[in-house]
Amino acid sequence: MTQLMVNGQTREVDADPDTPLLYVLRDDLELHAAKYGCGLGQCGSCTVIVDGEAALSCVTPLLLVEGRSITTLEGLGTAEDPGPMQQAFIEEQAAQCGYCIAGMMMRAQALLQKNPDASDAEIREALEPHLCRCGTHMRILKAVHRAAGLMRAASAAPAKGAA
């Protein structure tokens, strides 16, 4: 059994240690967001956050993430209660087929967590490992900028319930 922290919860999985994290997330933990795109780390559609860093789950074996904290797109919110990154992508309608989008969002989330004021050039550079085939790039960039704004606004606002 391998113990992982996934979206804030401790999970135990029984898979071979060489199994890429992608399949553990999809098959063992029944999470949908991380996608198989190439299995080679070339397209970014499998991206999740491991200990605060964006990671390509298709080339990250389970044994390397034992005991570490993993966040997938499911950990950012729900359709009913979307987090800022999700809200921004909905508001910008930043998807066509959307298959690449979960990975894009996780990369952007990792960037903004470390650098809330990321410039356009920094966002583009961060997203360089990610491929989108529908050509939604312009909207993806706008959505990441919007997410940064939403996150800044949320951290500037007084906490809920504060006097």
Partner: protein
């Protein structure tokens, strides 16, 4: 449409968590869609796809709670069609969009609308749904009139109810009980006046996006059925290779492996877990010994090879008239390579065989044609096979979706009772999908002293752009099994839509013009429909050539086009794109920067699209980057302006990728562009600073498909901008950095 339906894809896909779909395969003849058993023959003069199935309840049903269920035979491919069709129905029914459930392509439930392709969905299905919804609304009003003893003229439909002059309301749900909607549509509908549209033509958020951005079960890749196993295929190393021998015993003993399948040259593994299936696939692939027989053309000499292939020749335009004396003529050749659809998510399908019937969840563009292929493959009657469209990764034409559905169905048929999920690997998708065909065009034209074109001569050499299912021989599984099915003879797609000759006939007013289509039946590489088919290459060629001619005539390229363009809607998009771009005051070509312009009407019958583009080039590397693009589009009546913008933006970016980077590579036997390193596409460093899309709405005019309108113009605008920036005319796609560096580099 009376069969009991046990699979509710919508509710399943909208549910949180694991997607559980009950495959209870309707022993009651689930496949008897209304379209297959209409009492009356469909009437060809009915609008849109009503001609395929004239029954109103094949398109619209009103539920007892007053909500509506709307059926389309078209599929959501990420292009937003589901949302646009909800808007169409909501407008004519006068019902809030949230109260409409849209059921998409499913041979058990929806009409046979063929393929979701060719930018036809709004024309075909949008028109059918609009008319059917309007007629249902009028029937509801008439029913209310009967109950209230009032003439229909005094009643109006509003927000899901019929309203009487005294303000009394009768909800649709109350009215529908007495109505029979299983009636044939009338030829003429009372359509809403576009001036009063409340929903159609306004931006609506896409209904499929929330699940996609929150990790919902949005794709066929995300389906998880009870007891489902994971399958992988092992494909031959090259076209036509035959399996000499394979030791399956070692694979069968691997952990989790449930089954190893060999049927002729068709090899597959089925395992409990997905990664176990992948490991078993690799071991099986290593154990297989193949006899390879493929002889692919020399890639370096592809154009000459294509022009030397046997051809069937069609003269598709031959017009002659009075013209000025020629003072100048140009003749040039353009080429394009084989290109990938290159879906980001490799093709996938989930199939289940039970009680002699097979259900396949697939991201095919054509559930009915693919059902025909799979039924023949499995040697089952079509009514024992049901295909349900579930979204996949964007396909952009005939990619591996149909083949994966065939693979999954074949594997499932050998394991009755067990649902099987099959996904291709990246290298399988890249090597085995049917490519967009390589093409060559030749253009020759003469100008008179005033800079007008007096003679135009154009020829295009191309394979077919259509090898879709149909027959079982169109599927890889059908070709690879021990008793294979024959591959059907390729045929050209007839004009006016055309295949290789799509958009080969110029839209410009030309006194003398001849256009030849050299159709090439031999297909050394597997090819089929890639988004916009031949239009991408023909528009690239014609619009590059217009740029070359304008330069030769020393006339501004926008003015040169307008001088040859009579269609007022065409002139409008050209003028608007030029205005919004600031064409007349555009930056001069210097420091490697330049501007280009191009225009086309897709298929000469769908949306109009003009694009102006500013680019920068890097002398040291030959690298090109689009700085900004401005498009103007007329697609008739607009359903969802934001959806339309998204399609055009995407078309421009996708075309920028095709045009700058993309080319399938191969050696004498094998496809070698099997991943994203060997088949590079656009990445963020090359994404433009801005892309603007300006829409011209034509309220009340027919819907014109726009999903493929931008690709051709974007390619030519880019090539024209490169010529402006560097003085180098690049005629061989893709316009790679290496080629430009060789032309201009230091």
């Amino acid at each position: 449409m009376t069969a009991p339906i046990t699979i509710s894809r919508r509710s399943a896909l909208q549910g949180a968590g694991a997607l559980i779909v009950s495959f209870s395969l309707a022993r009651a003849g689930f496949a008897q869609g209304a379209s297959e058993t209409p009492e009356g023959k469909a009437a060809p003069h009915l609008p849109g796809s009503l001609a395929v199935d004239p029954h109103l309840d094949a398109w619209i049903r009103i539920d007892a709670d007053g909500s509506a269920t709307v059926f389309t035979g078209k599929a959501e491919l990420g292009q937003g069609i589901k949302t646009a069709l909800i808007q169409v129905a909501a407008e004519e029914l006068d019902l809030p969009p949230a109260r409409i459930t849209m059921i998409t392509a499913d041979t058990g439930r929806t009409a046979n609308e063929g393929y979701t392709a060719g930018s036809h969905s709004m024309q075909d299905s949008g028109t059918a749904i609009r008319n059917a919804a309007a007629q249902v609304r009028e029937l509801l009003i008439a029913e209310a009139g009967k109950r209230l003893n009032l003439p229909a003229g005094q009643l109006k439909a509003e927000n899901g109810a019929v309203i009487a002059p005294d303000g009394g309301r009768l909800g649709y749900g109350d009215l529908v009980g007495a109505l029979d909607l299983h009636v044939a549509a009338a030829e003429i509908s009372t359509l809403r006046d576009p001036k009063s549209f409340k929903i159609l033509g306004t931006p609506m958020r896409r209904v499929d996006i929330p699940a996609k951005v929150t990790g919902g079960a949005a794709y066929v890749q995300d389906m998880r059925l009870p007891g489902m196993l994971h399958a992988r295929v092992v494909r031959p190393p090259s076209y036509g290779a035959t399996l000499k021998q394979v030791d399956m015993a070692a694979v069968e003993a691997m952990p989790g492996v449930a089954r190893v399948i060999r049927d002729g040259n068709f090899l597959a593994v089925v395992a409990r877990r997905e990664y176990q299936a992948i490991k078993a696939m690799r071991t099986l692939a290593a154990a297989a010994e193949w006899q390879e027989d493929a002889h692919l053309p020399q890639q370096g000499d592809l154009a000459a090879f294509i022009m030397g292939m046997p051809s069937k020749d069609y003269k598709i335009l031959d017009q002659h008239g009075e013209a000025g004396a020629a003072v100048l003529s140009l003749e040039v050749t353009y080429t394009r390579p084989y290109m990938l659809h290159g879906s980001i998510g490799p093709s996938c399908a989930v199939a289940h065989s039970e009680d002699g019937a097979v259900t396949v969840c697939t991201h095919t563009q054509g559930v009915y044609p693919d059902r025909a292929a799979i039924a023949e493959l499995l040697r089952l009657p079509p009514d024992r096979v049901r295909l349900i469209h579930v979204q996949g990764s964007g396909c952009y034409g005939h990619n591996g979706a149909d083949d994966a559905a065939g693979d999954a169905a074949l594997i499932a048929s050998k394991m009755p009772g067990t649902p099987v999920r099959l996904q291709w690997m990246r290298e399988q998708e890249n090597a085995w999908e049917p490519f967009g065909p390589a093409m060559v065009t030749k253009a020759r034209a003469a100008l008179d002293a005033s800079g007008r074109i007096v003679d135009w001569n154009y020829a295009v050499w191309s394979n077919t752009h259509l090898t879709r299912p149909g027959p079982a021989g169109t599927l890889l599984a059908g070709q690879h099994i021990a008793e294979p099915f024959p591959v059907p003879e390729p045929k050209p797609i007839p004009l006016p839509e055309g295949g290789g000759d799509r958009n080969a006939i110029p839209i410009y007013t030309l006194p003398n013009a001849e256009v030849m289509h050299h159709f090439l039946p031999d297909m050394p590489l597997r090819v089929s429909a890639l988004r916009s088919l031949g239009a991408y290459m023909n528009v690239f060629s014609i619009e590059s050539f217009m740029g070359e001619l304008a330069a030769a005539a020393n006339v501004d390229p926008v003015a040169f086009r307008l001088n040859h363009l009579d269609d007022p809607r065409a002139r409008d998009v050209v003028t608007l794109a030029a205005e919004r771009f600031g064409w007349d005051g555009r930056p001069k070509s210097q420091d490697g920067r330049g501007c280009g312009f191009a225009f086309a009407r897709y298929k000469n019958l769908a949306a109009f699209c003009a694009i102006a583009m500013e680019i920068e080039t890097e002398r040291e590397t030959g690298r090109i980057r689009v700085r900004r693009a401005v498009a103007a589009v007329d697609s008739g009546q607009i359903a969802n302006p934001d959806g339309l913008r998204n399609q055009i933006e995407g078309g421009i970016l996708q075309s920028a990728s095709w045009t700058q980077y993309e080319s399938v590579s191969f050696d004498t036997a094998r496809i070698t562009s099997i991943d994203w390193a060997t088949y590079p596409i656009l990445r963020f460093h090359a994404v433009p600073d801005s892309v603007e899309v300006h829409l011209i709405d034509r309220p009340g005019l027919p819907f014109l498909g726009a999903g493929e309108a931008a690709q051709g113009p974007a390619a030519a605008a880019l090539a024209n901008a490169v010529a402006d920036a560097t003085g180098q005319r690049m005629r061989d796609l893709p316009l790679t950095a290496a080629k430009l560096k060789a032309a201009i580099g230091v």
